[in-house]
Symmetry: C2
Subunit: 798 residues, 2 copies
């Protein structure tokens, strides 16, 4: 599924040379800009040609009916789909009446680049029109990380020969026509013309359009304002119609002259506020942006990112492609979470319409563990969003006959939108995943105010769910039956080990939190009997184990199941779910994604080292990695059991998922969990970080392909730097007082100005490499062998 690689390797950015029409959609995802509130796909300024035009606002969706050939009680009737909102980034250019369009005329040069330290998408093009006129177009686009409602574009057109008549149309366009979907259920449902016009206004250099979604009833306002500079006379006009507003600048340029246009774009939306309120909000944001000015916005952006990289960079020596990929990953994870602010972080961030714009367990399990140690405020916001959805989750629990709260498998606003319950509703582990994220955040930040106001209730309501979902059997064991774990090639099984272990933590954490906050717990109706019942269920939690094979079955009976016929499965039959029925996948030993292996990461305390080795090797034979939520976890445990080269291979796969389009669907948006997972693979895999106990614990070890790995972690008031080479690991405290940590089980106290150095343990004899299903081995990554690394400027020449 890999398409030819259009992006050069650069440790601090992504550069595209030339223009590949076929790869547009993929490049639009890679070059997407977002602050977690606004998302702009990397569409060309002039709108066409495009792969998939996309402008998203976090939380703006349309409802659509969920149909069933045979319905059943509790099947959700209504789904939520992210919509492409009013496009504010559109700037069309006419050169002597001919539209600037890369499909016509002659493209003499085209380059786009994204620098992770700047947060700007830069573009430069030199183009000769069919009539023979040549212009140079440059643009810089940003979505502000400091001004949440604002995006901006600096657009310059220069006449190479002249005089030439130049018309620039800077637009707002609602209800853009979208390409038809291809029927893959993983791609978003296309919603045609979801926006109904409410208000339009254009005057001077400014225009506003307000629309409303037809069924979800959300009001969306988009506004633009401009600063236009030209060498001579520049005429501007302002026009608007229902779905379009346009500011037009017209001038004549002589050779070497330039027309420069700065476009400020602002968005606002609300489910409740009035038309004037939403309009005013957008106009205020425009005014503030204009006041800051283009250079001011650029400076703010650089400063914000400077702080981020200074505190959160992951440095790698020995593999510049991996270095690029992990910074790409961190940058996009930052973009997804920075300003989501009581909204969900979708599986694709705001980079594309994949998975209908839904959030899954991906957020709490992969994205938040990364943000916790670099942008904890974003985690606070993301979990507060979950908290706002508690009324819906309680309703869902009641509908399902359960106590507490049942969080949705997939959603935008909070209601369950999963139309296939064995892989949706039955994946109850989402509740424990949220609880684990709550506990991690509180432990990492010490934010007791959050715990009191939000965390406790999330822990209590999920614990109540587990207590009512499970039951004690005749032997006193607490069993959780008929649920689906992470592996989507199994469903509705009994005592999924991952689920039971996560539920165990959830129950214990809720009891502990209720003890810490007795008044608040009492207000939630928790008494000591209820907390005791949680502790008892946790203590008696049944964890199946196959004595015969000496491994944990993923769920009851799993190891008795027939083995998938891997030898008889040709490469073109992957991903299996598109070629084999669920009934066959579910009943056989075949694993889509780490499940028991993920349990060994997040609940490493529940397994002996020998069990980890045996389990890992057992499940490696069964795991086909048809999900992007797998390689990173396999990397972490591979590293733990000493298979460092294998861990390296998996790390690279997770990191390159989108830059190399390994899944063939980067066009629909980036895989946030895989990107975050690449960071996890490095930090928890090679860094050996575990955070399931009170103190952070490290067991650093490097694969032969890397010379050095260094990363930082924000923990409460501390900033800890970990610098790993094959010889030594150095723990340096950059901020804060004494921080107790564990290194290879040894308690260390790290103080500012007194780095602690320990030898890095390298296995004497490397562990034997586990075997994967034939054809499903990760690509080998021995150093740089086989990878072509180009040397490029990370800033394109203008």
């Amino acid at each position: 599924m890999t398409t030819p690689d259009p992006f050069a390797v650069d440790p601090w950015g992504v550069v595209e040379h030339g223009f590949d029409l076929a790869g547009q959609a993929r490049a639009e995802s890679v070059f997407a800009l977002s602050n977690g509130h606004i998302g702009l796909r990397g569409n060309l300024d002039e709108g066409e040609p495009h792969g998939l035009p996309g402008t998203y606002l976090n939380g703006v969706f349309e409802l659509r009916p969920l149909p069933y050939a045979e319905s059943g009680y509790g099947f959700p009737e209504s789904g939520q789909s992210v919509i492409n909102v009013t496009n504010g980034k559109l700037i069309r250019l006419l050169v002597d009446d001919e539209p600037f369009d890369l499909r016509y005329g002659e493209v003499r040069g085209h380059q786009r680049s994204l620098d992770f330290r700047e947060g700007l998408l830069r573009r430069s093009a030199e183009w000769t029109s069919p009539a023979g006129r040549t212009v140079r177009v440059t643009s810089q686009r940003m979505v502000s990380l400091t001004q949440r409602a604002v995006a901006a574009v600096e657009y310059t057109v220069e006449a190479v020969d002249g005089p030439v008549r130049i018309v620039v149309q800077s637009e707002l366009v609602a209800n853009e026509q979208l390409p038809l979907g291809d029927g893959d259920p993983r791609a978003a449902a296309v919603l045609e013309a979801p926006l109904a016009a409410e208000l339009r206004h254009a005057a001077g250099s400014k225009a506003v359009l307000v629309h409303r979604t037809r069924f979800s009833g959300l009001r969306v306002a988009a506004g633009i304002d401009h600063v236009i500079e030209g060498p001579g006379r520049v005429d501007t006009t302002a026009e608007s119609s229902e779905d379009q507003a346009r500011i037009t600048a017209t001038t004549v340029l002589k050779a070497g002259e330039r027309l420069r246009l700065v476009k400020f774009i602002a968005y606002g939306w609300s489910a409740t506020r009035s038309l004037p309120a939403v309009r005013d909000q957008v106009e205020a944001a425009l005014t503030a942006a204009r006041y800051t000015g283009w250079d001011g916005l650029v400076d703010e952006q650089k400063e914000y990112l400077g702080r981020f990289w200074s505190d959160s960079d992951i440095e790698i020596e020995g593999d510049v492609e991996l270095q690029q990929a992990v910074r790409f990953a961190l940058f996009h994870v930052l973009q997804a979470g920075a300003r989501s602010e009581e909204r969900a972080i979708p599986a694709k961030g705001l980079t594309g319409p994949g998975y209908d714009g839904h959030s899954f367990w991906d957020t709490e399990t992969f994205v938040l563990p990364v943000l916790t140690y670099c942008l904890p405020a974003a985690v606070n916001q993301a979990l507060r969003w979950r908290h706002t959805t508690l009324p819906m989750a309680r309703d869902r629990a009641a509908q399902l006959g359960l106590a507490g709260a049942v969080f949705p498998w997939r959603t935008i606003r909070g209601e369950e939108c999963s139309g296939y319950w064995p892989a949706g509703t039955a994946a109850f582990h989402i509740g424990a995943d949220i609880a684990a994220a709550v506990v991690r955040y509180i432990r990492a930040t010490g934010d007791l105010e959050f715990e009191r106001a939000y965390g406790l209730e999330l822990l209590v309501e999920t614990a109540r769910m587990w207590r009512s979902l499970g039951h004690h059997d005749a032997h006193g064991r607490f069993r959780i039956e008929g649920v689906t774990g992470p592996d989507e090639y199994s469903a509705v099984a009994d005592n999924n080990v991952f689920t039971n272990l996560m539920a165990q933590s959830n129950l214990r954490s809720a009891a502990e939190s209720a003890t810490r906050h007795q008044f608040e717990a009492a207000a939630l109706g928790v008494d000591t009997e209820e907390a005791a019942a949680w502790r008892d269920a946790a203590d008696k939690m049944f964890i199946p184990y196959d004595e015969k094979l000496g491994v944990h079955p993923q769920a009851d009976g799993f190891t008795d199941h027939q083995l998938w016929d891997f030898e008889g499965t040709p490469p073109e039959k992957y991903p299996l779910l598109l070629h084999y029925p669920y009934f066959d996948l579910y009943r056989k030993q075949v694993v889509k994604q780490a499940d028991l292996v993920l349990a060994m990461q997040v609940r490493g305390d529940a397994f002996t080292q020998e069990q980890k080795v045996r389990n890992f090797n057992y499940y490696e034979r069964l795991t086909v990695r048809d999900s992007s939520l797998s390689a990173c976890t396999q990397a972490v445990i591979a590293a733990e059991v000493g298979q460092l080269d294998l861990a390296y291979d998996y790390t690279a796969e997770a990191a390159l998922m989108d830059l190399r389009d390994l899944g063939g669907n980067t066009r629909d948006g980036l895989h946030m969990a895989s990107l975050a997972g690449a960071c996890i693979a490095l930090v928890a895999g090679f860094g050996g970080l575990r955070d399931h106990d009170e103190h952070l614990s490290f067991r650093p070890r490097l694969p032969s392909g890397l010379q050095r790995l260094a990363f930082s972690m924000a923990v409460r008031e501390h900033l800890l730097r970990i610098d790993i080479t094959h010889a030594t690991t150095t723990y340096t405290l950059l901020r804060g007082g004494v921080l107790p940590i564990l290194h290879e089980g040894e308690s260390l106290r790290v103080e500012k100005g007194r780095p602690v150095v320990r030898p890095t343990q390298t296995p004497q004899t490397p562990a034997e490499r586990a075997v994967q299903p034939p054809g499903r081995e990760p690509a080998r990554r021995h150093g740089q062998a086989g990878v072509q690394v180009g040397t490029v400027d990370h800033l394109p020449a203008e």
Copy 2:
């Protein structure tokens, strides 16, 4: 859900006195006439008021898309729904310009009756129009059991006072408007105007309409012809439009005079034949019917039914209501199967649109076991229909990655139409159910020609499916995993005992049949190695057993599951599937319908008597009977384990399902499996018939409420009569040579003219009555207590 009882008790028929508008739809099902090819609901002659107008042709359906909120590989994309075809039974009457309509004017008398020995639906009404004119209307309607394409109505109107102007419009109407569905997924999807007009013709007393379904491309022709007799001048006109043809007779009647109209109706349909061919077929059928004449058709019908009752009646003494119900059951089972002729027998027969007109395992498991011993030719036809669908079943198997044939869970033509795979595709036992019906038919008839031409291939292809679906585990046990058994409150479990035992029989029968027909088997590619593999899988079939509880779990792990909270489930929450999610039903111990208990009936040889007792009592506590496919089976095993009064209660429930509308959905059509099941409950329950070995075996015993039970069975050339009282059981051979049978395990040889009499064994101390979930106990039926029995003529007074 029980509605007030409109039908009087009569041992040989159903009589309705008066007219109950609210109960119309139910009465239309009860009074439905069919020969298995044509089905006419008991709509009033004048069409309105109606509950649900219905005219069905076996095999005529329309395609409709099956939608999925989230689709998956192998989900069927297209469904099949029975359609209401051209209505030929419509006869409107105008009395001095006022339409005869029971909702207006005054109904002075109204009676309908169906006599099981005649096969005629008789009606008489005396009605005074709003203008004060009184007429007497009588009609008799039939669907011919001897002329497959023909139905007929004799319609008479008599002036009570006069003179009165009478207009009779005898019509054909296509695309009748249907009432909207109520959203219950069990009711049929309403398909609006499914018929596109192709030809219309009306002249003299005759009219024909030909239509074609839009998507399934089936051509349907309907024709009518008339004999009209009146005392004076009768003018007739013939008209037609696209969706209507009308023959109108106009006359003036003096008081006491009558207009009589005989309407012959013929239907034909084809997926392949030309318009003229289908039209000619209908006109030929009309000509033949007219040649036979009304009296001739009535005589043929009586003769046919006389033979049927003479050979197949089930006689009961001591419970006239049950006597009526079981004859009602036999009559409708006969109607469903008599002339289906290489078409499916739907779950509702041709009595209503319920379940979209689909056939399920009901046919082979409940209906065919009854027809095998009274109308074996119908079984031959029904199984030949399955044989015709083998290409589709082979395609489905290939799609699912299996060998052999996978028959659909629900279908009209043969393609899988189940839109929810855990309760559809996963119910692989359908294949073994078909195989068991094949084996029973061959054993009962000795029809080796059928076996050679059809049966062998059905056995081979289903055996191949089982061999590829199951696998040998490390202990050499043959396991069948991830399948759904009969109980629809469990799904996708491992080693369902019913499924595994049925598969075992299937595999063995295929090997035996291949041995009997070596040349034909070789032509199907069966070699001795393959047959050996079937025998081996059968011998090693894994049957789970819970040693701790001393019962068979329905499937692996079932007895470890949490018990359903029966005490906490109020009556209004039944049927559970409409009030609880599948996830919760599936993971708990709650049983919708006999599953393990059915295994004990059809594979009684695989259980010890003690196991039967323990299993039955265990599963009685769990079985809520939310399916009509349960009471009959519970009756059979209750009788076997000596709980005769309980067996009697269940028998009555099965038998009265439709006459008393116990499920509240008789309006959508009759429950053929429950009706057939009532016969099974009597014959296999109180008669103790088992037919899973070479010779028929009986263990007769009667509940205290019955004085006598007698029934006949056609076995090869024999007709055996079994007559059971509390004292003795008498085996009489009415036809054929010596027949070896077993009575209480004793081998008997029954010869013509030499009845064998044996004492009927009655348990000394009645077994303790099993306990059912609270509120789900069957209604007690101690003799006739509490049942109101009216005495009525079975023929209505004209």
